[in-house]
Symmetry: C2
Subunit: 238 residues, 2 copies
């Protein structure tokens, strides 16, 4: 028996002022992974400042997956755990070198894509987080990004240009194949798509031009994951 | 019979003033792919300005692979051709989603890594290209990079900092696994490694710090590909 069979899965997801609105890209990729594997889970809304509720995970960020009483954190480790503990379900990575290369996409999202996207959408996020989270959010993000919310708003044009540059490898790849993982979306697609899900839930202004080459892929992902396309808080279709 | 069986392979490789010194990252990745597949090829030295010698390819850049009388260009297309026409040899991509994800690494190298690295090493390349190529090289690179060789030299510190940022996803990925493709190097590793081969052949000043987290991976690649580690013009070990 695997740990997962010991009880229902629970997923702590970051929530906005409206608790139905879940916007974290790292939580979204795990939700998509659960859908891909056909696993039910209880979704718990969580706020940045509710560190105590996930203290048993040994850290203070979500996603946190509760599986058989264990609290797992770090989206990459959760994805690997799901892959291994539900090896009979559809794979998130495919055979080698699928997982190893998905790791690179994961790190590219964490260290290139998310930072570039954050500079664009963080002011909008500050407007939608719960009141109890706002001061924490603004303070930590201004420190990380080295700019005030007002400065970030003023710099939006430059930040969009920088984001656009970061996105170029994704765009050109998806210009020649249906999904990052080829004919079907796997975890690397979920990671990249979740960044745009984050953007369209948080920021009323689209981050991509109407004719951006990424949109056909995003629409294919929406078709594959209607729960994401119709999620509470989604402000526009791709 | 595949086209490849019709005659020996020939590879046009960009050469420096010293024709034994082959420095192009796009040529190196194809050479490594040929070694990986255990295919012999005749290596032809070629200069930027010798467009006529490869005119039959319909364009003016190397690598160009001559296979059974056909001239193939574009490193990604050459790699796919080798994979398909020599399917009995060790695979460059592994099973799906290996090729699709390698495509993303290929595009990341072309559109993020190479442009960032070029800003650092192009002045050194200008010093080592053949006399017949120098004016062409300086003019085209200054236009592409929007800066003179002198400006690029002055900006080296900033360019190294920008390169360092671009490299972060590669570095963190290789901090947790031996190769980009997992336990063994495949084409995505060859693509990324060839960028550093380019740098260490062209520029006497290393682009990575002595304790950079990428070096253990680069040394593993050197072990796997001793022909690259000991190639004419290599200025330092990783």
């Amino acid at each position: 028996m695997t740990a997962s069979q010991a009880g229902p899965l629970q997923l702590f997801e970051l929530a906005a002022a409206d608790p139905q609105v879940r916007f974290s890209p790292n939580c979204w990729r795990i939700r998509l992974a659960l859908i891909h594997k056909g696993l039910e889970c209880e979704r718990l809304d969580w706020r940045f400042t509710e560190k105590q509720r996930i203290a048993a995970s040994g850290q203070g960020k979500v996603p946190v997956l509760v599986d058989g009483g264990r609290m797992l954190h770090e989206s990459w480790d959760i994805a690997r755990h799901l892959e291994r503990s539900h090896a009979d379900r559809p794979s998130l990575f495919g055979p080698a070198p699928g997982e190893a290369l998905a790791r690179f996409v994961n790190q590219w999202a964490a260290e290139s894509l998310h930072p570039a996207l954050a500079r664009v959408i963080v002011p909008a996020i500050a407007d939608m987080v719960a009141d109890c989270d706002r001061a924490y959010f603004v303070q930590t993000r201004e420190a990380t990004l080295g700019a005030s919310m007002d400065e970030l708003r003023r710099l939006r044009g430059e930040s969009l240009a920088a984001l656009n540059k970061v996105l170029q490898p994704l765009r050109s790849t998806l210009g020649t194949q249906d999904f990052l993982c080829g004919a079907q979306p796997l975890y690397a697609d979920m990671v990249a798509y979740s960044a745009f899900q984050w953007a369209r839930i948080c920021d009323p202004q689209p981050v991509l031009a109407a004719d951006d080459g990424l949109r056909p892929w995003l629409r294919r992902m929406d078709e594959r994951f209607p729960e994401a396309a119709r999620a509470p808080g989604v402000r526009y279709p791709f």
